[in-house]
Amino acid sequence: MKPFEKWKTEEVELTFGIDFLQEMDGMQAWLAHQNPLKPEEEARMEVLRKKMQLFSNFWNEEDVKVFFVMPIIEIVDFYHFGKYRAFMEATFQATLTDVQNNPCTLRGRVEMVVATGKQDPQIPFFFLNEYKAQRKVITDPQGQLLIAMLAAQAKNNGLNLPIYGMYNIGQLWFFLILVGKEYTVSKAFDATDAIDLKQIINLLQYVKAHIERNV
């Protein structure tokens, strides 16, 4: 079975008949969401942003994750006891039908997923993968995220919920939404830029509100 990280975007599109759209209502609503940060959130954001600016060239992938990406995620706090939480290095699987109507079982690991469940992810809502900036091009971060989101959609069969995702390559963050057979990707947000970083946090807060409404 091919792991998530071996899937490329075009291959995912062709195998499962999904389409990339330049604009989608779901993405527009997501990007339009604006919510002023609390003073303490903004202060924390600034500390992290400055650290990222100073060290982004020196950090290894784990440093970026532990000292920047996760603390930003923590500002939003994807934990709601008894309802959902963020799971690290989570493995899950689902069986999908490809364009030729053949069953195709997908199984893989994602860096982080927000899902219902206490010990294991049950209904996934939001995915995150993180990469080093100087990454070799052998893997396709978007393809890898997309296949995980498709697997989540199949696992949540019948719920008809959009699946949200995000990946970053160094300081650049990209947001994805998958609705039915269509998906789109946001522009790149530069996490070392204060305005972009504020919007990143807003985008994450939007996802949290969506999860709260649906669990």
Binding site: D63, V66, M70, A86, F87, M88
Partner: protein
């Protein structure tokens, strides 16, 4: 070459002639730390502790690290621009002499390390390793930390500074200090209990020691120049 995680503590003691000293003054002093915790820090600590209490049994090792251990370490913030910083998944190496005066090349990876340097760790001061409670018995957290600290000591050969460290097993935290050929391990501190305040105070004191040792190191380097 045997990796750090395959060393047991007794083997480290016998190979390099180091001894555990329960009454090591450095450890006694370290644990007596009474560093102040601000209101803002208190809020963060309580939130993290609540989360640990609820999820300790459900978390995998990475969850525990990312959602509890590192955020708690981050309260102290082992980053001092231009001086030292925390490095994760850092590899260090050095040549040590065993009790028979044979050179042994040691090299391994630690989960977190506070050291001088911007891109790579140069002079290490403080170590952290983290484990899941359902630890397989073949791994010895104390041995693994000790061998890394000994390697750091050899790497810092020119500066006789003590090396500080800690390892966690699930909710329990253990502090370790190595001074020349002696080391000490603290009692366990349970982060789901009131021990958490002392854990943070001890971490703050560790940062203070790092700052002091950094200053010493700069002084020594200047004299050498």
């Amino acid at each position: 070459m045997k990796s750090f995680e395959n060393w047991k503590y007794e083997e480290v003691e016998l190979t390099f002639g180091i001894k555990q000293n329960e009454n090591l003054p450095l450890m006694i002093e370290w644990l007596q730390s009474e560093e102040k915790i601000t209101e803002e820090e208190e809020k963060i600590i309580l939130r993290l502790q609540k989360r640990l209490k609820r999820f300790a049994n459900a978390w995998n090792e990475e969850d525990l690290k990312v959602f509890f251990v590192i955020p708690l370490i981050d309260v102290v913030d082992f980053y001092e621009e231009g001086k030292f910083r925390a490095f994760t998944e850092a590899t260090i190496g050095a040549e040590l002499k065993d009790i028979h005066n044979q050179e042994i090349n040691l090299r391994g990876r630690v989960e977190l390390l506070v050291a001088t340097g911007e891109q790579d760790p140069r002079t290490p001061f403080f170590f952290l390793n983290e484990y899941k409670p359902q630890l397989k018995s073949q791994k010895d957290p104390q041995g693994q930390l000790l061998i890394a600290m000994l390697t750091a000591q050899a790497k810092n050969e020119a500066y006789h500074i003590p090396i500080y460290g800690l390892y966690t097993i699930g909710r329990n935290w253990y502090f370790v200090v190595l001074e020349r050929k002696e080391y000490a391990v603290s009692r366990q501190f349970d982060a789901t209990e009131d021990d958490i305040w002392q854990i943070v105070a001890i971490l703050k004191k560790a940062k203070l020691y790092i700052e002091e040792n950094y200053a010493k190191l700069i002084n020594i380097s200047k004299k050498q120049i």
